[in-house]
């Protein structure tokens, strides 16, 4: 299938993805690249530990669950 044979609706939707090209030079020094790498946005590794609404439920439920399991475990081991 060629571009012309594509459905019109799909062609129109593909047309919506326009890209603005920023100004940049042909070469970049290693220092600039290193600076870009350092400044690149990343996800916080502590994200998983952040307090959310459901965190309170976990704080309450998990210890109860552990106590429950530990107290009933001997029954299965006898």
């Amino acid at each position: 299938m060629s571009k012309k044979e594509m459905p019109n609706k799909l062609r129109n939707q593909l047309q919506l993805f326009q890209v603005d090209v920023p100004a940049f030079s042909m070469k970049k020094s290693r220092l600039e690249r290193y600076a870009d790498w350092l400044m690149y946005p990343v996800k916080s590794p502590l994200e998983k530990l952040r307090i959310r609404f459901e965190s309170f439920n976990k704080v309450i439920i998990y210890p109860l669950l552990i106590v429950f399991i530990v107290s009933f475990l001997p029954l299965f081991l006898i």
Binding site: K9, F17, M26, K27, V42
Partner: protein, 172 residues
């Protein structure tokens, strides 16, 4: 009259700058539409011209046109960078993740950017090259260094999936 090595270098440099002005935008758009990462796209464009400058003597204009050649370099660099990133992600999962990339909202769905991301890398690249860069399937086969039949099959399956994702009916 032959040119001295200094003049030759100047001429090469000027040619390179002309090529850069002509192709930096199409190559940037190609890489950006594939990766949707601005910084990576800029790096790839710059690396493409650095690599072209380094291996200019290997370029044979009888074998491929300059656009195909530059796109091939950019594609190879992009694939290598993505592989390196994926390896890095496995080692340090919190690195190289864009802040707002993780959660897809319902508004993001059904946008063409989202749909292109949902395609496999192999399908995405052929769709982008064919639709946005007006390259023939033969050119795409040269850029990706894969058989023409494989390009045709990837275009077919890619468009089918894209239509399903964007909910476009067959006859429209």
């Amino acid at each position: 009259m032959s040119l001295s090595s200094g003049q030759e270098l100047d001429k090469n440099q000027r040619n390179l700058e002309i090529l850069f002005l002509e192709y930096r935008k199409p190559i940037y758009r190609f890489v950006y539409r594939f990766t949707q990462d601005e910084q990576l796209s800029v790096d790839i464009v710059q690396d493409t011209f650095i690599k072209f400058n380094k291996y200019q003597s290997n370029y044979d204009e009888k074998q491929s046109n300059i656009k195909t050649y530059l796109f091939r370099i950019a594609y190879q660099l992009m694939v290598n960078r993505i592989k390196r990133r994926e390896r890095m992600k496995k080692i340090l999962p919190f690195l190289n993740q864009q802040l707002f990339n993780s959660e897809v909202t319902t508004e993001d769905r059904l946008t063409i950017q989202w749909a292109l991301k949902m395609l496999s890398k192999e399908q995405r690249v052929v769709i982008i090259l064919m639709y946005y860069h007006d390259l023939t399937q033969q050119n795409i086969s040269d850029i990706l260094e894969i058989p023409l039949g494989t390009v045709k099959s990837r275009v077919h399956h890619g468009l089918l999936k894209l239509r399903q994702l964007m909910e476009v009916e067959e006859g429209e």
